[in-house]
């Protein structure tokens, strides 16, 4: 399947997501996409921003799709760390979309990201979204939302956090947030999300770098 065929299958989701991330990526830069899926973002960045990109993925089907599309992809478990492959400051950007919450040690991986890359971009579901809060507070069960569709027992998401949690972790790790945006699962942003992102944002995207060095 080509990039175009794939993009045509789910146009509304992709265009906003890709457009948003692309704006943060300088043309001609080097990019590592952790949990790259079928390589759609990398294909887009290669086409529109002329980046030199590599993907990291664990799923066999995604790997095959990447190979078919000519995307450089490495089959690696993010929980094993990235030092087997990458040297310090190897990339301009290390991107991780919707995988942080499924990693054994998100703190270590964030540090790893900024070891091999100069800047990082992550997106994750916001556990502090008002619907999650209401479900937990009034209904007394783990949240079931558009951004968090799994049951507690079979969810891949083992380290859920709120925007506040993430920002606290960043400051603890000496990470400076360059920009952030709160979105709905279709990657649209509303006035409410911009006003109180930790309450109204369902998905958060952060762009960050090391404070020093």
């Amino acid at each position: 399947m080509t990039y175009y065929q794939h993009a045509a299958r789910q146009p509304h989701i992709l265009r906003t997501d890709l457009a948003l991330l692309s704006e943060w990526i300088k043309p001609g830069s080097s990019v590592l996409d952790l949990g790259c899926g079928d390589g759609l973002l990398l294909a887009h960045l290669q086409r529109t921003r002329q980046v030199k990109g590599y993907g990291v993925e664990i799923d066999d089907q995604h790997i095959a799709t990447c190979l078919e599309q000519g995307i450089n992809v490495l089959q690696v478990d993010l929980n094993d760390g990235l030092s087997d492959f990458f040297e310090e400051n190897r990339f301009d950007y290390v991107i991780m979309s919707q995988a942080l919450q499924a990693i054994h040690r998100p703190d270590l991986l964030l540090e790893d990201m900024l070891h091999i890359g100069r800047e990082g971009i992550v997106s994750f579901p916001n556990f502090g979204h008002w619907i999650s809060r209401i479900q937990l507070f009034f209904a007394g069960h783990m949240p079931h939302t558009r951004a968090l569709p799994h049951n507690w027992y079979n969810s891949p998401n083992i380290h859920l956090c709120t925007l506040k949690d993430f920002e606290n972790l960043c400051s603890g790790l000496g990470i400076e947030v360059l920009q952030s945006i709160a979105l709905d699962p279709q990657h649209q942003s509303t006035a409410g999300m911009r006003w109180l992102p930790n309450l109204f944002g369902e998905v958060a995207v952060y762009h960050f770098k090391r404070k020093y060095g």
């Binding site: 590599y54 799709t65 078919e68 599309q69 450089n72 490495l74 087997d84 040297e87």
Partner: protein, 381 residues
């Protein structure tokens, strides 16, 4: 061989041979004044010669990679799982060339062929050949067949080392390199296993310093032992456990005689060893293990693999198998890391397989699917 040829097989194939008059100077300093390469081809070369795949064989492999020589053949070529119509190395798309390497014993010049300078079989006088020597000779074969640039050079194990060496040695003459279950150089443990295998052969009383054919004999025991040892390293502990466990051959242990086979695994190894003696040459085995031991592209670059791989232009695919302890995934990752250092186009696939090193010859769905996906890309790129 089944009564009818499977539709996804290349079917009946015939080996071919090319004679080279141009002398070939080897890494050891010696020169072969003339030599032959025996090879097989599958599929058709297209009009602009852009669809050629070179398949490089491993230690005990040869040029017969796919199909059958005869309707009575019990087994097809060694990589039948991957070569044929609709398979990853799709003969509907690619023109596939697989030579028997120099120093081999299946038709190409080697210890069992006649030394043109003496009129006698080479035996132990055949020079030590290296992976770069093979690349050189394979390149000449390609040119003889009208191939200036390979769509891809492909190999597993020692064959993968050739695919890597090709990308280093002639970076402009291949578009892709597919390196499967390989290593950038052997570890001390790898060399140790090879040394035990060599010693088994060299100390066999029938070895006669490599000139056993002149004595009308072959060092059967040594070659058999070498093969038995090799087989242990090709399988994982788990694979051996599943295949044999502690299953007994006769139902009970024999407490009377120490030379009796008790366990199935003993029987299997003896069978493999004995079988090998009939189809392989001991001098060739020794030469192949030397080629493995000596392979080390980083040697001339201060042991810096990244420096050694700097010339590579081909896009590369590295594949490894989780249970392979002979050339483990970590060894493939060393190569990937060195390629990434230079921003090369490289992909890495780790196949979850319990079979050990031998997995690269097996029909494992994840392996076949990803390899085919990559090869399909090569054809359209």
């Amino acid at each position: 061989m089944p009564d009818t040829l499977p539709t996804d097989s290349v079917g009946l194939v015939t080996e071919q041979q090319h004679h080279f008059d141009e002398p070939l100077t080897l890494a050891c300093g010696r020169t072969l004044p003339e030599y032959d390469l025996t090879y097989e081809t599958y599929g058709k070369l297209n009009s602009n010669a852009s669809n050629a795949l070179l398949i490089c064989h491993a230690l005990s492999g040869d040029h017969h990679a796919a199909g059958y020589h005869d309707m009575a053949d019990k087994k097809p070529g060694w990589w039948e799982t991957s070569i044929g119509p609709g398979k990853p190395f799709d003969t509907n798309r690619f023109f596939i060339v697989c030579p028997n390497n120099l120093g081999g014993c299946k038709g190409s010049s080697g210890p069992t062929t006649i030394n043109p300078e003496t009129g006698k079989t080479y035996g132990a006088d055949f020079p030590i050949v290296t992976v770069p020597d093979w690349v050189e000779s394979q390149r000449r074969l390609g040119k003889a067949l009208g191939i200036e640039t390979w769509a891809a050079v492909v190999g597993g194990s020692l064959g993968g080392m050739q695919a890597l060496q090709w990308a280093i040695q002639y970076p402009d003459e291949l578009r892709y390199s597919v390196i499967i279950a390989a290593a950038p150089k052997l570890s001390a443990q790898n060399i140790a296993f090879n040394e035990v295998a060599r010693q088994a052969i060299l100390t066999d009383p029938d070895f006669h310093e490599g000139h056993y054919l002149a004595h009308d004999t072959v060092p059967k025991r040594g070659l058999m032992l070498a093969r038995m040892l090799g087989h242990i390293t090709y399988l994982s502990d788990d694979a051996m456990h599943v295949k044999f466990g502690r299953e007994l051959r006769e139902g009970e242990l024999n407490y009377q005689q120490v030379d009796q086979v008790n366990f199935q695994v003993e029987s299997y190894l003896r069978y493999q060893g004995k079988n090998f003696v009939h189809r392989f040459d001991a001098n060739t085995y020794v030469l192949m293990t030397k080629a493995l031991d000596f392979f080390d592209p980083a040697k001339d670059y201060d042991d810096n693999l990244a420096k050694a791989l700097a010339p590579i232009k081909a896009k590369c695919l590295l594949m490894s198998f989780t249970s392979d302890w002979r050339f483990s995934p970590a060894r493939s990752k060393e190569i990937v890391k060195a390629m990434l250092h230079h921003d090369r186009d490289v992909s890495y696939v780790e196949i979850d397989a319990p079979h050990g090193h031998d997995a690269f010859l097996m029909p494992i769905p994840q392996y076949t699917t990803t390899l085919k996906a990559y090869m399909d890309r090569i054809e359209t790129d």
